[in-house]
Amino acid sequence: MKQTRLLMGMPITVEIVDNSARVGDFDMVYDYFSYVDNVFSPYKPESEISRIRDGKLSPSLSGQDIDLILRLAQETKNLTGGYFDIYRNGRLDPSGIVKGWTINNAANLLKKNGFSDFYVDAGGDIQVSGKNSHGQNWRVGIRHPQKKNQIVKVLSLTNEGVATSGTYERGNHIYNPKIQCPLISDVISLTVIGPNVYEADRFATAAFAMGKKGIGFIEKSPGLEGYMIDKDGIATITTGFSRYTVPS
């Protein structure tokens, strides 16, 4: 059974292979996404994160999840030498870590409810579990950065998370927090596979901000593999990435 709903500004697709899945199970996942959206959406002026950003709420008075995300963001910032930073031009926006964290939590909700074959895909960041409806590993395509209806690589995943950071046609939406007038132009897409989508997402975000050095950072990080596409259509691949690829 598969559903797609629009939340957090993007299509969120959940497929559960297990025959016992019911609509209520999907509701549970989407309710969780709604909850996160209400707390963390920078586009909702009354969300907790917006009120903190606008100085209307002190972080010390905010809820547990805000507190947790702020601490996780700080840890990620330390691990990435400051290349991951939820303050951009002084403005608070933790989307680069909240998305992966939320998808991972939603997947864990499904696991706790006894499901083992499913995926959760929010805007192209994905957590998979088990097998697809044909009993095989999930086949995940990496989208061509310019030709949106084509794929350039096929991955075979069963318990991993995968996230792609990149630019879109109108400009760059990830900035290098270390430079004033930042535009990342060397790299247009960086796909990271990790043990779960929380890890994949936060390090894809950070590594993308490092420009061409990002793929080197992923190479040296245990448990992460990456596929970087530059503006000339050349991909650079970490050493262990091929264990996930499928000749198509």
């Binding site: 598969k2 797609t4 629009l6 993007m10 299509p11 697709t13 330390n78 691990l79 990435t80 030498g81 400051g82 290349y83 995926y119 895909d121 805007g123 192209g124 994905i126 998979v128 697809n132 999930w138 086949r139 995940v140 395509g141 990496i142 989208r143 061509h144 950065p145 030709k147 949106k148 084509q150 794929i151 350039v152 690589k153 096929v154 792609t164 950071s165 990149g166 879109y168 046609e169 109108r170 939406h173 897409s189 796909t191 490092m210 061409k212 050095k213 080197g216 950072f217 190479e219 040296k220 990080s221 245990p222 596409i229 259509g233 050349i234 991909a235 650079t236 691949i237 050493t239 198509s248």
Partner: protein
């Protein structure tokens, strides 16, 4: 004899490093058990991550045997000096590495990221493929593409 001098040099270098760190006001203490018997040079451990790139300025130690000038100056000394510096750095780096694991900080990691040599990785030209996939990963899309993809995703759920 040469191994003895090497070992002594390593020991003295460690001690110099500790003193160097103390005078820099570094808070982390480093416990070192210097070698007291001649033995093989320390093997270079794999630092892996996290980083601890340290540059040490080593001065030739004064060993009161009278042999050190001949051995440590000139070509041989240069080559070995270079090697030892690297080894020592790494060996000390391993100790500092342990400390770094416990006290990571933003600035050191940044320096590491920026000074690391890029590993040599395989490259390929991307190629569009005809393939059936269950799911697609890609960067966040523009609003038009988003609407298209949402529409097609919704169509598939019917």
């Amino acid at each position: 004899m040469r191994r003895f001098f090497f070992s002594s040099f390593v020991i003295v270098t460690f001690i110099l490093y500790v003193l160097h760190q103390k005078t820099e006001g570094v808070e982390e203490g480093i416990a070192i058990a210097p070698r007291t018997t001649p033995g093989p040079l320390p093997t270079i451990p794999d630092i892996g991550n996290p980083p601890a790139t340290l540059s040490l300025s080593l001065t030739t130690p004064k060993v009161s045997s009278g042999y050190h000038d001949g051995t440590y100056t000139g070509d041989v000394a240069d080559a070995f000096y270079g090697n030892i510096q690297v080894q020592t750095t790494i060996a000390v780096g391993k100790i500092a590495d342990v400390k770094f694991l416990q006290y990571p900080n933003d600035r050191r990691t940044s320096i590491f990221i920026n000074t690391q040599a890029m590993p040599i990785l395989k490259t390929e030209a991307i190629q569009s493929q005809n393939a059936n996939v269950d799911i697609v990963t890609g960067a966040t899309q523009t609003s038009e593409a988003f609407i298209q993809s949402l529409k097609s995703a919704l169509d598939k759920t019917k």
